[in-house]
Symmetry: C2
Subunit: 495 residues, 2 copies
């Protein structure tokens, strides 16, 4: 993997002086075309061996292009707000919006490579992370992000030479710290781990570019050209109106009429008296669970999806009544803001993830991708087809970071929905709840039904299963929701 | 101040049962009218004595209204990201967008009252904070935020009674902690400080509402009614198209023609050789300063304002060349996003403030309020007139929190601007930099000139003065900027 980069590529100062002016002009031009077209976001990963010129190269990119539209992020130790979310949260936070270039200096690769070469994590753990990264990057690429991954390399010999040279010069001697020599001693381990990581994560959509870091002129030109090529190619695609070709295997409905939804008996019995009794008991258990010591180290993510007028709002209120009001946020999901539209579709959910000890309740959620966006054609078939796996990954990350994820689908019969719509139109303070949009969606239910069935089939994971709620009777529905939630919580918290 | 609240107001359960249904219906209705009209944001502050029913009341508000559009924020100890910014940063973060209700449970008043009653801060320090709060709240009110401040009160006797009652019941005994009795002992000190704070910060635009917390029915109805009244009054104003009446004293130009800008000699001599020599020296000093240990505990906020084509971009690049690329962010200010438009105008700058050891470079800034917004009439005269004081407050808070604030105005002569505009139209890679908008702005310069002079006069504070830069000669301008910056930094860091 590093063979070519250890050859010792060089470029004379004269050759550099000849190449550089045109290269920087072209890069600046590409940057501004990117900015104006807002065609995509560009994410540049900077990794590699100490002393191979990473910092210098990033400085150069800032010099060549307009630094006002380049966002450089360096990741030191995570802040406490970052530590309390999934590993990738801090990188989601740093993603550039469309039209911008983000340089991630230190990124999702840094810690795993370091930790593995120090022996802090096992190979299996590393490999698990790498698969996670591959899926994450595939998602970014499919969302239109241009991902350029640079590995700055230096041979063992090259590194030694560099440290010696720095030490020999009184002006630069301070730059060599003890840690640098210690790192040099571990060079072979580090190289081996890095090689494994790069091989595993060099994918078709996001290959690694290995840069021989020994000669400043050579590496600058190499990086500049690669970046320019990637930018220009994408810009040309945009100019020509190309869309990335994505394959999607069609989903076929079952051969009979039976499905997850029509198998439900929507009108389940429960009277007010029984409801009040159950509600009090379940809310009490919920209140205890979220106030328990065990919960302080976890978080809770609730997802409510369902047909219009199925009673999501009412169910959410029965949940929040049992919570400490300082502990939860309800996140109503409507059309994205323009900042959200300039990011991959999952971004707006990542930004609302709860810290430890907190609860986030999503009233509609990321499942919009495979429901309304699928049905209304807001995204392509390939887009929503890949969303199932992306969403499973997202929820897996939540769970790995200690979140408890509970998801509800509320179903209501055609007749009951009609009754509720009409009631809303007449009740003064429910009128805000009914719009022509709702009536239109009601007509589209035949299109939603298979989408919901696919969603439940494909995203009911061990970590985060769906609870289907028969909701013609609100009392029954609310009690079922609370019971499922409390059971899941108590078992997760071992109460 | 607390006399009426210590009378022991009560409301029977029967009376409550009669009042409650209509009150909650009205509140819900008002909430949805707010949500649909996006007329304003509502900020509810919840403060008071322990046990006076703050938490219960917030829970009740969530029950009465739709919790999906209420954001409750509780503020415990600041996170490390919060600690590294000005005191008010965490509250800016939590401001609700227009149409939403934010409940701040624990807020800017909590720590100062606590710290003063414990004797941790002096009275003068407290009073300084209180004036800060008054100005902050006046700004919020002027920006259209409805601010409702509740103080939940309980007499010393009332508190004792409550603690005893809790202890007597085996089911609630656990709720009484030692700290509660300790607090009870300090009741008089706390009450005295609170009274002082409330008196000082009960302003016309944001008066305190004192709530007798001893009776649950009474306090619930009282709070509900106050909130409803405030909401309905604002909604009615919006329906009627009222605008808040704001007084603005007109600014008069000087009686002669002489002003800050035309007194500048814009074409200052400096040749390339001298420039290169100075640049290298100054960039070296800048590099050392921002890498110094002293800077690790501070931050740097740079503001670049100036005429179109005055060379802001070029100057910013000469600054960033000396910085570690991981250390700074350039923040180009263009039209606000829709999330930003739903907030007070300073919000989008607060969200970009740097952490310790970091540099934020604003390419255009909050001064847009008194420049383009004034000239183009995007805000009223009263709005930009109050902005001078608001901006001074903002920068004072930055400086108090350890930031070093340096501001540049770049001026270029009419002839030189024309020359640069024309050059931009012909140079291939500068074409993106010139639009019809720029030509239009150029014609408006006579309107901008007095706005710039007023801005410099009114916002050149001791903490954050303006440096006027004669920019016809780019070499001279860049060197002047770097020198001013380096001098300011070295003196602030005592290097």
């Amino acid at each position: 993997m590093f063979e070519s980069a250890e050859l010792g590529h060089t470029l004379s100062k004269e050759a550099y002086a000849e190449i550089e002016p045109q290269l920087r002009t072209d890069l600046l031009g590409a940057q501004f075309e990117l900015l104006e077209s807002k065609a995509c976001a560009v994410v540049i990963l900077i990794n590699g061996i100490d002393g191979a010129g990473r910092g210098e190269t990033v400085n150069l990119l800032n010099e060549w292009m307009d630094p006002r539209h380049i966002e450089v992020h360096a990741f030191d130790r995570p802040t406490d707000e970052e530590r309390e979310r999934p590993f990738l949260w801090r990188f989601w936070r740093a993603l550039p919006a469309k039209g911008k270039i983000g340089v991630l200096f230190g990124n999702w690769y840094s810690d795993p490579i370091h930790d593995r070469s120090q022996g802090h994590i096992k190979k299996a753990h590393l490999d698990q992370r790498l698969s996670e990264f591959n899926r994450f990057e595939a998602m970014l690429a499919a969302e239109g992000v241009v991902l350029v991954k640079f590995w700055f390399h230096l041979s063992r010999q090259g590194q030694k030479k560099r440290l010696k040279a720095l030490e020999a010069n009184p002006d630069t001697r301070w730059r060599v710290r003890e840690a640098d020599w210690a790192f040099y001693e571990q060079y072979d381990d580090y190289r081996q781990v890095a090689e494994h990581v790069l091989r595993r994560t060099s994918t078709g959509v996001a290959p690694w570019v290995i840069v021989d870091g020994s000669d400043p002129q050579y590496r600058a030109v190499h990086v500049g050209r690669i970046l320019l090529e990637r930018l220009q190619r994408r810009l040309e695609h945009v100019r020509k109106g190309f869309r990335a070709r994505q394959a999607a295997a069609p989903l076929l409905a079952a051969a009979d009429e039976r499905n997850l939804l029509n198998a439900l008996v929507l009108n389940q019995p429960m009277d007010k008296k029984e409801y009040d009794r159950q509600l009090e008991k379940l809310q009490g258990r919920l209140a205890l669970a979220v106030r328990s010591e065990a919960f302080a180290g976890r978080s809770l993510v609730l997802v409510f999806e369902g047909m219009d007028a199925a009673g999501k709002g009412g169910a959410i209120r029965r949940v929040t009544e049992a919570l400490d009001t300082r502990q939860y946020h309800v996140v109503p999901i409507a059309a994205p803001s323009d900042e959200e539209r300039a990011q991959p579709y999952l971004w707006r959910f990542w930004r609302r993830l709860p810290r430890r000890g907190k609860v986030a309740i999503f009233d509609r959620s990321w499942y919009g991708r495979v429901l309304v966006e699928r049905v209304e054609g807001f995204c392509s078939e390939a887009d929503w087809m890949r969303a199932y796996a992306e969403i499973n990954d997202f929820e897996d990350q939540l769970v790995s970071a200690g979140a408890i994820v509970v998801k509800f689908w509320l179903s209501v019969s055609d007749a009951e929905q009609l009754r509720r719509f009409k009631a809303r139109e007449t009740e003064a303070f429910k009128r805000y709840k009914i719009t022509s949009e709702d009536w239109r969606n009601r007509d589209k239910w035949p299109l939603y039904e298979p989408a919901v069935c696919d969603m439940i089939d494909r995203t009911s994971t061990e970590n985060a299963g769906w609870t289907l709620v028969e909701a013609d009777n609100k009392y029954y529905a609310r009690v079922k929701i609370l019971r499922a939630l409390v059971d899941k919580l108590e078992s997760a918290l071992k109460l």
